[in-house]
Amino acid sequence: AQSVSQHNHHVILSEAASLELGCNYSYGGTVNLFWYVQYPGQHLQLLLKYFSGDPLVKGIKGFEAEFIKSKFSFNLRKPSVQWSDTAEYFCAVNEPYMRFGAGTRLTVKP
């Protein structure tokens, strides 16, 4: 079965810094990849998803992710983070049920 791994457990940034969170998936053919965000005390929300087509996917709140097949990666990026981006970020693969990475906690200092 497909799986995803996230290497950064906790990332601390200052406001306006650029963000890149790593996500790698295991090989297994066609993949559908997702990034979810969980703000403190709130439910999981979908940031963006990749099914096929343009490997650069744009999501909500200024986030984007790039699917690089040769690297088995689907990294999440944001050019300039805000304090309100403080949250837990999960990469996931839907195969056929959502299987999550361990998550990356992002702390943005004001």
Binding site: N32, H43, Q45, F51, F90, Y97, M98, G103
Partner: protein
């Protein structure tokens, strides 16, 4: 708005005392899922229903059961909660099963076992 609703948001139970968590959906989705999320960990699938067909993950303890009396509702029963069962329990739905079907999550129920 169509949504996934979980009640209660916070549940406290005693060690060994059965507890039931509730999930309802207005999306009319065929599939309903229960995930367990322990602190600082990823959500882990416990089981799911495709319509009335129940599917258990291989490593889900027997202590966890589920019922789906109709399309809209799904319940998670923990027969004898232990301290290790304290977690956030997430309900999710999807229209169908497969790579292309996004899952929609409820806000979760945080279970405390005393």
């Amino acid at each position: 708005d169509a949504m996934v609703i979980q009640n209660p948001r916070y549940q406290v139970t005693q060690f060994g005392k059965p507890v039931t968590l509730s999930c309802s959906q207005t999306l009319n989705h065929n599939v309903m899922y229960w995930y367990q999320q322990k602190s600082s960990q990823a959500p882990k699938l416990l089981f799911h229903y495709y319509d009335k067909d129940f599917n258990n993950e291989a490593d889900t303890p027997d202590n966890f059961q589920s019922r789906r009396p109709n399309t809209s509702f799904c319940f998670l029963d923990i027969r004898s909660p232990g301290l290790g069962d304290a977690a956030m329990y997430l309900c999710a739905t999807s229209r169908d099963i497969g790579q292309h079907y996004e899952q929609y999550f409820g806000p979760g129920t945080r279970l405390t076992v005393t």
